[in-house]
Symmetry: C3
Subunit: 249 residues, 3 copies
């Protein structure tokens, strides 16, 4: 893919975000995009290829959102961005922005990387093909706030064994006072940062991607709790409790 | 290695292809080069270091092929390029294109990266040392076409569990009509792309590197078939059959 | 982190050294820095984030040593450079060189990457905050030379299964004549390079990072010897021996 890009333009910085998304795991890839896209300067082109439908009728698209461009298969990868108020998308059909020969097995190289290079050169997104108003979106795990409780789920286990949840920082901020987090039959404190835990301790915190995460200091929370994707997570306000705060051992 | 390069020239794009070749697996590295080198623009310098013989009498070389430069140990890494009609190679002996101190354990840093940087700066390949007319070549797994059958073998298992074979697209194209693929006691259909498989289905297809590959949708073909490097793969024309096409379950 | 850097300056080469340091393994990260920093051209900015104390009272620092800049948490990551004669360090407190919002969980993105970008732009290290004269240092495994013997330990096992030791090349050079290396109950020869071993053979050699390493040809010395970090390694001069040189089988 980088070879295809450099054959079109050299006026780029090529940055790898991750090559460690599990095969075909579109949700994990979408979470990675959600976390990193906003940190890049406006006008950045992000190419994402988790593409089990390559070579079938699934479309390729470019999606523009908040001044950033996302290029890849139309399979739900860009769900977090479609959920936002302003975006536009176009199908990648124009042959002049593809490699001369397009395989049925690697559109990353033959379609997406060339489109990204042309976008980086300044080609207008609308020139790649017809508008797409109905991009595929994933069932995106979210959370519910009901009478002092937020209910969500584990949506990803990262390489440190941290549990990433569907509970986002703004929803969490709506709970008053001290809260505690229940997951896998355990009640954990909400802490500010990893280093607030004592060695071996478990806790929940707001991650750098603005999601509630569960971590174990010097260990894997996933292994300790036997937790996996889909497991329920509940945050409860503990302001009406006796004041005895739950501390994980 | 990148530090050594940037100490010589900064007018480069540094691109990582892979750091995941199995230790000492020269064939896997040669396959990676075969797949990626042609996609890069002419004049690209490719440095490859799978180098169990570092510090021994094995030579270091630069090989020029189709306008691309390959730099590394002379241990067979560049076999796919030596098999092509036009190439020339030179031994890396000139001390002015090495780091001042050359270790016996890391020529990637001390010899190959500096040579690559000087090539990128425009130094002529012939200035690095004497011509090499007999580079080491690997026994390169190939395939035989005999009366309507192509016989080859599994030459690599990739990180998705796909089986890369020694059967190349041009040889395959010479078979008329529908074909089926036998491997590990199973008969699989030849399909166009991964997404043509139903969930869990097995099939063979021509990869983006123009090789026959065997894949399982949403799974590992290697695990499912108990397949490994060296296992026999046979493609048979099924045009004289009853027309009932073999479909993998 | 790269997004944060490119939002501040694009006049940089972004180079990844490793993303494979074990979680929270400050010693492994410090060894990686020790090995690579000196190879980069003067003025390079090295950002290292193995940071279990993020968001706590631990400081962030920039350390300048031999014309190179190191940026990261003050947790011992830079121990090899503090051991050298000339360095200076400053705490990263100036808000104008951080992202506008600093999380408590990812200073790599919010503090260290921005500081690195500003250093690359030419901002003087002293402008980031007050001088730091007492950076945290690790107990750095070293070696002792006593009457013809050097005693050290295994300090890291790399991905090839090689044992990196605390015995450095200058100390080793002080032993006269032929030497042999004892580790895990075995006596191994000191060889010049990996390729001097016969297939399956074990030996010790000076690595490209100027440390004594133990390797097995075509295998993992760690697995073969059951070796792990902390295991004792002794190098003995064999000049008073019978001249029969120990050869590993």
């Amino acid at each position: 893919m980088k070879g295809a890009i450099l054959g079109i333009t050299r006026a780029v910085h090529l940055v790898d975000i991750t090559h460690e998304v599990a095969p075909h795991d579109v949700i994990e890839a979408a979470l990675a995009l959600e976390a990193v896209v906003p940190v890049f300067p406006p006008g950045t082109v992000h190419v994402a290829v988790v593409d089990p439908g390559v070579g079938t009728a699934r479309r390729g698209i470019v999606l523009e959102s908040d001044g950033q461009f996302l290029v890849g298969p139309d399979n739900g990868l860009f769900t977090p961005f479609v959920a936002r108020p302003r975006w536009r998308a176009f199908e990648l059909t124009a042959s002049e922005y593809r490699l001369p020969l397009v395989s049925r097995t690697f559109h990353g190289r033959d379609v997406f990387a060339p489109a990204a290079a042309h976008l980086a050169r300044g080609v207008e997104a609308s020139r790649f093909g017809p508008p797409v108003t109905d991009p595929i979106t994933l069932r995106w795990p979210s959370c519910r706030h009901v009478r002092g409780r937020i209910e969500g789920e584990v949506i990803h286990v990262d390489r440190f064994g941290n549990l990433v949840t569907s509970i986002d920082a703004p929803t969490l901020d709506a709970l008053d006072g001290p809260v505690s987090v229940r997951v896998a039959g355990r009640t954990l404190p909400l802490i500010g940062t990893y280093g607030d835990l004592r060695p071996g301790g478990l806790g929940a915190m707001v991650s750098s991607a603005s999601r509630l995460e569960v971590a174990q200091r010097d260990g894997s929370a996933a292994a300790r709790l036997g937790a996996r994707r889909g497991m329920r997570v509940v945050v409860s306000s503990s302001k009406r409790s006796t004041g005895k705060r739950a501390i994980a051992s």
